[in-house]
């Protein structure tokens, strides 16, 4: 029985050591792909929605449906008009009303994709159907989508919707009017049509500054004197100002770390250039080969004793 190191084991060992080195080299590079607090690329577009200005006219909803060719959701209006309860497979943009349980206070909120700086849906999408496109718009390409719905599980804002009633279902979400308008140097339909300036379009840098100016100008007006979306889930390209608590108008309380960072900080190191799997394969392979050789050495004796061929 040969218990020394064979050429093959030596080779596997070298591959394993190579994997470790690769992992060590790759680790810093990998960590930077999903930083905990990503920075907006220059030229990142954004929307700023100020709930205190919105009158709830819903012109943006009509404009959105028109620009995106979406059918009206008439299930609650006896087939008469577009009346969705929430974002759904026919609604990429919605104005919702929050009414205080006791008291006269109310506020409107506009919901659509937040276009995160490091979107969980994009991190999770297996074949890149969802991607962070030019100017930071998160877009969906149907030919790459297998309909696994991981984006719906991952999105902390519950934005992507699935066409449950279609045989060839699409993922429906706001894409910042990327194909429809952004590419033609036009702003999104919702911001273009807003009559009061409650939702405005610009670069993220400009709009963040603008929002902070508004807070500075009226120090007691806005909830917590902060911009929702500046840091939430690593930062988003849709920014909110509100006088009522954000969670009451349906904007979830989230940490400032991007989910992509949380989910990939370990695996991105292990899987970088497949170094981890190669290392494990080298180790296991060497042990298996050693035990296999022992097994094979004992086989003739075992077969002679039992009188039957060895089974694998």
């Amino acid at each position: 029985m040969n218990t020394g190191i064979t050429r093959r084991q030596a080779l596997l060992g070298i591959v394993g050591v190579g994997g470790t080195v690769a992992a060590a080299v790759a680790a810093p590079a990998a960590a930077s792909e999903h930083p905990a607090h990503p920075e907006a690329p220059p030229g990142a577009v954004a929307m700023l929605y100020d709930s205190t200005i919105c009158t709830g006219c819903k012109a943006c909803m009509v404009a959105c449906s028109e620009a995106n060719g979406l059918p009206p959701d008439t299930s609650l209006s006896a087939g008469l008009w577009h009346m969705p309860l929430d974002l759904n497979a026919k609604t990429k943009n919605i104005i919702k009303l929050y009414q205080e349980p006791q008291g006269p206070g109310f506020a409107f909120v506009k919901r659509q994709c937040m276009h995160c700086l490091d979107p969980a849906c994009v991190t999770g999408c297996p074949f890149g159907a969802l991607e962070k496109n030019q100017w930071g718009a998160v877009t969906w390409t149907g030919s790459r989508c297998i309909g696994c719905r991981y984006c719906e599980v991952a999105c902390p804002f519950e934005v992507p919707k699935f066409e449950w009633d279609q045989w060839n279902p699409k993922i429906v979400k706001c894409e910042f009017c990327f194909d429809q308008r952004l590419k033609q140097n036009q702003e999104p339909a919702c911001t273009a049509v807003c009559p009061t300036g409650a939702v405005v379009f610009g670069t993220r840098m400009d709009l963040l500054a603008k929002a902070k100016e508004r807070i500075a100008a009226s120090p007691s007006k806005y909830f917590e004197n902060r911009v929702y979306g500046e840091h939430e889930a690593g930062g988003t390209q849709v920014l909110y100002l509100s006088s009522v608590p954000f969670d009451k108008i349906g904007l979830p309380k989230l940490g400032s770390t991007s989910l992509g960072h949380y989910a990939t900080k370990v695996t991105s190191v292990i899987y970088k250039w497949l170094s981890g799997p190669i290392l494990v394969a080298g180790l296991l392979g060497a042990l298996i080969k050693r035990n296999w050789n022992r097994h094979e050495a004992e086989r003739p004796e075992h077969e002679r004793k039992t009188g039957f061929p060895e089974q694998l």
């Binding site: 999770g124 297996p126 074949f127 599980v153 919707k161 066409e163 494990v280 298996i288 039957f308 089974q311």
Partner: protein, 420 residues
Amino acid sequence: MSAQDTTGTILVNHWQRGVPVYREPVITRTLLFFAALAALGLGLAVVRFFSPLGPLSGMNDAYAWGIWKTFNVMTLTALGSGPLAVGMAAWVFNRQKLHVIMRTALVTGFLFYATGLLALGFDVGRAWNFWHVLLPWHWNTHSAMLEVAVCMPLYCAVFLAFENLPLVLERLYYTGGDATRATLRGAAPFLRRIYPFVITGAYVLPLMHQSSLGGLLLLAGDKIHPLWQTPFLPLLYLMAAGVAGLGFVTFVLLIACLRYARPLDLGDLGELGNLLSWVCFGFLAVRFGDLAWRGQLGAAFAFDKMSVLFLVETALILVPAVMLRSRAARETPRTLIHMATLACLGGLCYRFVPTTVAFNPGRHASYFPALPEVLMTLGYLALGVAAFGLAVKYFAVLPAETEEWNYMFRRVRRGRPAAA
């Protein structure tokens, strides 16, 4: 030997090799029952292919994953991790006596994976776009879903299938003519040469995708209760696969040997019980270490709904861990089967809860599987059970003594044992 000779008398035996179940009818009422259930489920799966997902399932945009993913794939493949768990012990850690058990693990593992992937195929909305898996430059390598999508079918169709190949070839050899035998005799050395290298892949791949199944849940973030949401999810999912995999191989060996009156080898079963106990302890150590590290031990013992669920799940794994430390307990078939069942349930519970009960998307939405959804889930499972029932009769799966080895492969057409 027969059932009368062995029941209750000689329990200690020495499993030497896989032997087909013979002198038993192939078509039984049990088989027909499971085949009918499988036919119903597969029939609905065909309907599902021509129908949208909505009418056939209880899934919605808040609970976008139903039991096909959360149970058939994410949970049941833990039971199907026997080939990984037993194989690691046998081939990597050189527990020689476990080789005889490998075939039972391999067949059950293959069936759980194959039926899970079948469930997945009918679950995804746009299965026809899956061809992108063949183009690595279309892969999003940051995605745990990609890892699962590439790794699981590859493991099942190539590596697990290769490990199961000797069973098929062996049957062909003993039932075939001279030409077949000559061909197979010629192919055997080649198979033996590549075998250790291919099975290395068969252990690396499930280590990857069984942990990635837990990794999937990381992106769900706060939607998953803090008792389950942790950076250790991938490791814990993998260890739960070890718990459930070892538990299920023990369980199925005992059940099948009782059903077909096979003598038990309590040395081998005890070894499985021993390993199972240590893996359970390892799982619990990581589980509690993680809770302590994240400061969640208080929540674990708060005795609210989630805490109780956690404690039940932990007890299901702790009881076999402790009980199976006793040699007497693991060499008592009754205790062993009880403990293996508990470990399976505990592993399943850990894998199922974070995707369902502890998954709260924070809206007034709820999910309960629709009837066709349940029937399809049961159908896939029944398909596996029926296939296992046939496999043990046509292939040398279940372990037995050498003396039983009489080349008793039954021929498909004649339906009774063929003498050599």
